[in-house]
Symmetry: D2
Subunit: 337 residues, 4 copies
Amino acid sequence: MTSPFKIGLIGTGRIGQVHASSIAALNDTTLQWVADPFIDGAKTVAAEYGVPNVTEDPLALINSGDVDAVVIASPTPTHVDLISAAIDAGVPALCEKPIDLDIERVDALREKARSAKTPIALGFNRRFDPHFAEIRRRVESGQIGKLEQLTIISRDPAEPPLDYVKVSGGIFRDMTIHDFDMARFFVPNIIEVTARGGNQFSSDIESAGDYDSAVVTLRGQDGELITITNSRHSSYGYDQRLEAFGSLGMVQATNVGPTTVRLYNDELVEAQVPYENFFLERYAAAYRLELAAFIEAIRTGTPASPGFEDGRAALLLANAAEKSAAEGITVKVDLSA
Amino acid sequence: MTSPFKIGLIGTGRIGQVHASSIAALNDTTLQWVADPFIDGAKTVAAEYGVPNVTEDPLALINSGDVDAVVIASPTPTHVDLISAAIDAGVPALCEKPIDLDIERVDALREKARSAKTPIALGFNRRFDPHFAEIRRRVESGQIGKLEQLTIISRDPAEPPLDYVKVSGGIFRDMTIHDFDMARFFVPNIIEVTARGGNQFSSDIESAGDYDSAVVTLRGQDGELITITNSRHSSYGYDQRLEAFGSLGMVQATNVGPTTVRLYNDELVEAQVPYENFFLERYAAAYRLELAAFIEAIRTGTPASPGFEDGRAALLLANAAEKSAAEGITVKVDLSA
Amino acid sequence: MTSPFKIGLIGTGRIGQVHASSIAALNDTTLQWVADPFIDGAKTVAAEYGVPNVTEDPLALINSGDVDAVVIASPTPTHVDLISAAIDAGVPALCEKPIDLDIERVDALREKARSAKTPIALGFNRRFDPHFAEIRRRVESGQIGKLEQLTIISRDPAEPPLDYVKVSGGIFRDMTIHDFDMARFFVPNIIEVTARGGNQFSSDIESAGDYDSAVVTLRGQDGELITITNSRHSSYGYDQRLEAFGSLGMVQATNVGPTTVRLYNDELVEAQVPYENFFLERYAAAYRLELAAFIEAIRTGTPASPGFEDGRAALLLANAAEKSAAEGITVKVDLSA
Amino acid sequence: MTSPFKIGLIGTGRIGQVHASSIAALNDTTLQWVADPFIDGAKTVAAEYGVPNVTEDPLALINSGDVDAVVIASPTPTHVDLISAAIDAGVPALCEKPIDLDIERVDALREKARSAKTPIALGFNRRFDPHFAEIRRRVESGQIGKLEQLTIISRDPAEPPLDYVKVSGGIFRDMTIHDFDMARFFVPNIIEVTARGGNQFSSDIESAGDYDSAVVTLRGQDGELITITNSRHSSYGYDQRLEAFGSLGMVQATNVGPTTVRLYNDELVEAQVPYENFFLERYAAAYRLELAAFIEAIRTGTPASPGFEDGRAALLLANAAEKSAAEGITVKVDLSA
């Protein structure tokens, strides 16, 4: 038996705990360190997963010499500095999205990230969802001919707390950013962004100067038209659908229910219970597969994907969408620069 | 324009009215006569469809010299005599199922029916249902290889009135008889019948000495195994499903809803409204296509199908099922004699 | 029996024949006149449906004094004059969409249409589709709470001939116009149009200066966001879907197949044959129901719906979409003026 | 951290490896011993899962004093003796089905099993399948009223090797036995068995004196009618479906596919890839949940379910089915004795 791959986890909040669970589920991988300034949270996770090392200081973890990779699941404003520190320490990093809400901070790190000798992966976990990944495999295989249109419907089950909304960077940078990356999973080179935002139900979100709903149209380099429909609430559960339409056919991923059981009675037929509640349930497999792919990239010395440039591109699209929605104009973007 | 094909309708009750409506919908066909001892019913139908001739006496209709064919939709005990009269008059007849509840009366007519020069069609309308007919076309085309198993689920929406149950001939002769014919649509030569009946919910039906539920297993000449599941009630509407399983695949017809509309809310997703209420709605197209096929057979001089022998075979299977259910034994049958 | 309602049909091309068939299927309604400058076409339709009067001249038909209503299914450039003549003659008219491709010609007729004493109906047949009408009933009943988003996917099976494209008025006025009216079926007062067009597969359409694909986002007066996705081809048949998303749930109409039969084999499961080929099949019921509603409006003296103003509003939205797509800006519209 | 629950695994073939994997996936549980006379297989499993103790002798494992429970996954003829030894050693046991192919051997152990102080669980894993378990929860909750009919369709993907068929005990004891237990999951007290077997495709199976297809009808104490349809092959993958029909409605579990992705092209629409290949994939979750329930029963001191009596009952039903199929009679059974 080879010695296990040692991971350090920075941030032990909700998403950090998802990663802790994924690490535990992977063979030959061990959670060696956890770091969180909120030390009680870190200790709880450490106890649950039998982690030998706990610290308040993420830099102590990165520079411990005792981790083969780090997962960065701390608050967004810390991401740039922690990625930078990981590069300095020669430690591969998987960082949650977004890199930062400010494109200038991202660009300041860009050259360093480009020339880093160790992989930097961005946590766009949906690329690893088995359903969406299967659609992409089929598109890549030519099953639907030339890709012409992509329809993404993405609705959260319920609006986030107002405190979160205020620091989220707005719907495009916080929520749509996943859909921008999904669009780029199929069409990496987006050239144009048109967005409309709406305030349909949440006075909280409106008071924070943000939209609770949005529709975005993207155009790809080869003329692909991509539609994203977002809402911050959905009574029937987390609504995550994708359709790829091409010259020869269409492939479609519908929502995922907890069972296949259907009910028939005198009021309705073929009814299922509502969909998986939220991303922790819906994308549980995706988080595990994302981590596995990250470790595989390290082991084989191949670039991590999605990586830093993908994180930057998604933020550029979010910025363009915000401008488009505010000004009522289509905004051209150049992701190739 | 050729002169229209003239039809005489005997019996203007519920099922007679279905045929009147089908005749009206067919091009180049006219309802020329209606006959019913309940003359007020006949007159109402005549007025609705502009029928020039009305009579209490079905023989007057048959022998009028003014009809190209008759549709017999009168009570079951009249069928044998009316078919016989139609043969004598040289008038093609489409008779509702069953020919009779008594196999001896059927057999007494058999030789005459066999040697009749005019077509005699039996009203097993489900053979003309577009969904089931499509399954048969695929089976015949070899799409699923050798047919091995057939699964028929057939549940009525609600139990019939007790008065009807008492004269119905029992569930096997009244309700399952359609499923026996559907089985023979795929496997004409059934060699063995095994049946179990049950009293699950209706004290009325039990008091009439009948079953409210039944399961029948048939074996075909080439080893096909056919399962029929019946119930006299179904809270979610008329349940009419069919699956044909073969060496290379399976084809399946699910239930038919009034629209494709599906509802999603916080209690359920993908819900449709209940299925078509009963046979008048569910098999409306089948009744029209049945009539069209009957007229086509007359016009082209080809035998009507299903015909008298099919009506007799279904009754033999019903009799065998009754015996099997009563005695707890598998009953061999010989439909080829 | 009351004397039948007499209809005159102007134009006996493909869509005129659909109306002729619908008239034949309605009780108490007769096709009394047909008019078409291409007199052979008119005669063929007259022979098939037993129409007593045939003319080359639509005005002869309108002014015959022998029709209770006219259906105008002639080429678009004739619509304005024929509607005007029908108003003058006091004959109710059901006119195919669009009223005209030129908003100035439409506006020139507007005041006369407004003050007409006889109903003028516009042939937006999809409002009568049982599936879409069921969705609207549910939305109106409050089943999904406040309507927030509407998703319309509408793809034709194959691109039209180049000769047609050249005179069609462009994708927004010819194809999307149906979707604009569907949007207004749910949200009459649209206030904003954003559109992107694409040339994805047809060099013919591109050479004609038109788009073969389009995405449109509309905003309603109460903040509703509506997405329309169009393509001029679809390998799997006519793609006609609609989803209404609200605060309490979602209702969805999926595509309509010819049967419910599904295939299962070693390569795939749950497969159906492709959808209804095109509008004649998919919307056959809608055409019949449209005509019945038109006659009902005449009989009861209620306004026809959709009517002239709906035809004008859809054209205004198409014009706004064209401008938006060309200039890359969101265009505000005022349909209430 | 409490010390982990120590499990000994007897038999390291295909099904033993499934259990090894389930044990590894459970928190606070460790695979402490493996035993298999085929010692190389045992060593391979031990190496993969880091098991400290390996032996050829299952009794050495049972009597090691170092296991909190055993999982018996060795060949069927060893089950009775190993269960007996586990009882003697006071070690809880989860034994794969069937207990034995010979009811006399089962009955000889019955009294000892009944009075055992430690739990004996039988490996009817399908009771733990989330889909089927959800159906049962709903039936128990009264959602469909009184249970009247149960439809079980169960088809293996491909026939087993002839060598296996010869020692399998026949289709009823080897394959249908799972469906008998599923029937008893809903209706414990079955009173009547009617079965028909067929030889539809496999000359190998026929040469071994066994059936390759079967249909069974069961009757429950309260009149429930249960239908089981079996085939030893299925081109479209493992076919595992269940419907419970009651006075107020129906609940249904359809097959499970690897993804929700559907394909649409010019030949078909809504197509999915074939279902999960076989029981290892389809019932992976069920195996894990079965083991967790077994450990929970031990920890809480509650009886294991399904247990020895359930194993015996399923065998009695299989024996009755064999007799019914051979003799063409319905066979009464008394499971309450």
